[in-house]
């Protein structure tokens, strides 16, 4: 079934994509959002979001995403919960394959975000859902009176550990360095929590078990290799940008989508969010390794949408 030519096709469904779609559909651009089967993005994996403005008491991540989706759909954006398969960013109009559908668009916004970065150690894949997890809010419940570890040193690792203390008897954060990069408020909460222990300068070498996780092999700087019996391991070492399908789009040295700032003859910035391809823009964590916040992703989404509007005006 052909749905005609879209003014813009947005790839992704996190805060960046849904905000972009809100702006483009409200500007009367024919908008398609390829949301993927895991629509909603990273905030689906968390509990209370306290730093997204407009919610004085905070809001649950999944609720925030449902709200954003409804708001974007209200202005006529079409959202399909299917996985992107292929995208041609070379020939205009751009062609996109998702599921068994083919769509065409005059412009594209890449907002595919980032997914959990796994440890890539033996045992990890085998025990996924059998003691290995990346979503404490989803899975903490199953670790009542159990011992768990959290790997990482950023805000998400702190958040995972705090969520787990509500169920587990013992939570140990294992970090490869001797200090956290998490925000001070999150570090204070962790350090003030009696159930949480911290193990510095240590890395996981292997995840052990038979039907489910029973322990891990750890290397600690001062003490070498040792084994720790545990029931669950929560991985929060960061995220990898979802760029695999983006053939023809330049990435930066860290593997994120590269922005190419385009200026006019007077040196004024024309498009802030443009990629190396004409008519292809980017927003959110897929291109941003620095800020990585819901509100910045939404902000970038807005910028990309306004760039698309301007680009369409300039080219029609």
């Amino acid at each position: 079934m052909s749905q005609g030519l879209f003014d813009v096709i947005i790839l992704g469904s996190g805060p960046a994509a849904l905000t972009a779609g809100l702006y483009t559909s409200r500007a009367d651009l024919k908008t398609l959002i390829i949301a993927g089967t895991k629509w909603g993005g990273q905030l689906q994996l968390t509990t209370l979001v306290e730093n997204y403005p407009g919610f004085p008491q905070g809001i649950q991540g999944p609720d925030l995403m449902i709200n954003m989706r409804k708001q974007t759909e209200r202005f006529g954006a079409i959202i399909v919960d299917i996985q992107l398969k292929e995208v041609d960013v070379v020939n205009q109009p751009f062609t996109i394959k998702a599921g068994d559908q083919i769509y065409q668009g005059k412009t594209i916004i890449i907002a595919t975000g980032a997914d959990t970065q796994w440890l890539s150690v033996p045992g990890e894949k085998d025990f996924l859902g059998k003691g290995v997890s990346s979503c404490a809010p989803c899975d903490a419940f199953f670790y009542r009176n159990k011992r768990v570890i959290v790997i990482g040193g950023g805000d998400s690792a702190m958040e995972e550990a705090l969520v787990l203390t509500k169920f587990a008897t013992e939570v140990t954060i294992i970090h490869r360095r001797d200090s956290f990069r998490a925000s001070k408020i999150m570090q204070d909460r962790v350090i003030g929590n009696k159930k949480i222990k911290i193990l510095w300068n240590s890395t996981i070498k292997e995840i052990l078990g038979k039907d489910k996780v029973t322990g891990v092999k750890i290397e600690t700087k001062s003490k070498g290799m040792w084994e720790m019996p545990i029931d669950g391991i929560f991985v929060a070492i960061g995220h990898t940008p979802n760029t695999v399908l983006l053939k023809g789009i330049n990435l930066d040295s860290k593997g994120f989508v590269a922005r190419v700032e385009e200026r006019n003859k007077q040196g004024q910035l024309l498009y802030f969010t443009k990629t190396n391809r004409d008519g292809v823009f980017t927003a959110g964590d897929v291109h941003d390794y620095r800020y990585k916040q819901a509100v910045t992703a939404a902000g970038f989404g807005c910028m990309a949408a306004l760039d698309v509007e301007k680009w369409l005006e300039d080219h029609e």
Binding site: K38, Q44, P137
Partner: protein, 106 residues
């Protein structure tokens, strides 16, 4: 489409003794990704009509069943046929992944 709410009490009659294959969806109200799975399971169920039964297990209230099947992460979907677990899916998967396995038994 037959959709049933399954508990620790009726798991045996509704799932293990079912004469049709059963898609058992382990979920909970506090699990964000579980909400993403709902429309996928609904679509599959609609397409297969009465060839299959969909059973929803709220793990919060039915920990015994969750433990019996070693559920440590949700959403988890287990495909049952003739009382036997045939395939287990952890996390939200593309619709085709579920269909592939279901088509092997219906």
């Amino acid at each position: 489409m037959t959709q049933v709410v399954v508990t620790d009490q009726n798991f045996e009659t509704e799932v293990l003794k079912s004469d049709k294959p059963v898609i058992v969806d382990f979920w909970a109200s506090w699990c964000g990704p579980c909400k993403m799975l709902d429309p996928i399971i609904d679509e599959i169920a609609k397409e297969l009509g009465d060839k299959i039964k969909v059973a929803k297990v709220d793990v919060d209230a039915n920990l015994q069943t969750a433990q019996k099947y070693n559920i440590l992460s949700i959403p988890t979907v287990i495909l049952f046929n003739k009382g036997e677990p045939k395939q287990q899916f952890v996390g939200v998967q593309p619709k085709e992944r579920y269909q592939e396995e279901i088509n092997k038994i219906v």
